[in-house]
Symmetry: C2
Subunit: 205 residues, 2 copies
């Protein structure tokens, strides 16, 4: 009877976890990985220096500027952007492979990257992570202390601007301090619900 609809509901989703810098995108995605969820977690290529505790090929693919330039030239990236002097990009082949295998593909992207994905794939599922207040966001950025003071200032200004781009997104989730699991539960509910739409999203890349 509704075999066709059921089949379309099972088609994989292209899920973007985004939001301003400092909102906890990495932490949220790491917790999702820890839960062993059946997603393909996209590994982003980046030219930025490896931070303590980060594993190459798992957290990011760390590449040189030269290698990154080659990936751009060969059109191997779904999207890329300059983020605070460093390049970040999503390997196209990796995403296509995962979608072809039927897995939901999940990636964390800055707001600029999410905008690009929306243009490439209008039916992508875009989730905006936020803090409860602007003050909390700034506090988290300050606490991070991986940047020089002038970088921090730039990051705060960018975050403020990014907070205004929420209309581009499908869902808005507050990642409140100390409630990481609640945030992950909400994201999981959103993904589950999306697989029951009468008009399923159509991911084409």
């Amino acid at each position: 009877m509704h075999e066709d609809l059921l089949k379309r509901q099972q088609q994989p989703l292209l899920i973007v976890i985004s939001g301003p810098s400092g909102v906890g995108k990495d932490t949220v995605v790491r917790r999702m990985k820890e839960r062993g969820l059946p997603f393909h977690f996209v590994v982003t290529a980046t030219t930025r220096p490896q931070r303590d505790g980060e594993v190459d090929g798992l957290d990011y693919i760390f590449v040189s500027r030269e290698q990154f330039a080659e990936m751009i030239e060969r059109d191997e990236l779904l999207e890329y952007a300059i983020v605070y002097d460093d390049y970040k990009g999503i390997p196209k082949a990796q995403v296509r492979r995962a979608l072809a295998s039927g897995q939901d593909v999940l990636m964390r992207l800055d707001v600029q990257g999410a905008e690009t994905i929306r243009k490439i794939c209008p039916d992508a599922l875009l989730i905006f992570l936020s803090t409860r207040t602007e003050e909390e966001l700034i506090r988290r950025l300050e606490r991070r202390q991986t940047e020089a003071p002038e970088d921090l200032k730039l990051r705060i200004a960018t975050a403020r601007k990014e907070l205004r781009r929420v209309d581009l997104f499908d869902y808005y989730v507050v990642n409140a301090e100390g409630e990481l699991d609640h945030t992950v539960d909400t994201i999981m509910a959103i993904i589950q619900a999306e697989h029951h739409r009468v008009s399923p999203r159509q991911v084409r890349l």
Copy 2:
């Protein structure tokens, strides 16, 4: 920053659990009640005879045909319909009161009723319950045995017609045999997700 959005996300939803006769609407809603979920479960007024185990005022408001006619005349019903010779209707005041108190309002309705709600309130959240196959639906109707054979035939024909109205709905959920809790979990995920939309539904009655 996004105080207005957060406020609009918390606005109560008008949720309709619908689907063809025999699909298990009553059982699903009963399980939701058992879980003590913080919804207002609408109590439908009906002229049909009370079945074993049903409690007046809790499962339905059982009224006479005369009483029902008065409710129609006084425009006290949000929607009403003739279902197999019996009248069923949703008391308007009850729904308005619940929404005003900030509670999500949940009602089970036949497909015809869901259509009416869509017209009255385009932003209502409509969930279509289904079985995995048409054969399973017919089997469930036969098993019920509350009707005379000619009524059963009519019910099957209606169910078949109702299965084709799925496009009216927002979500499609299979209530598979023996997986009642999974069905309820899915509905809960849908409601949770809906409270995180960047464009929240606007319920006006």
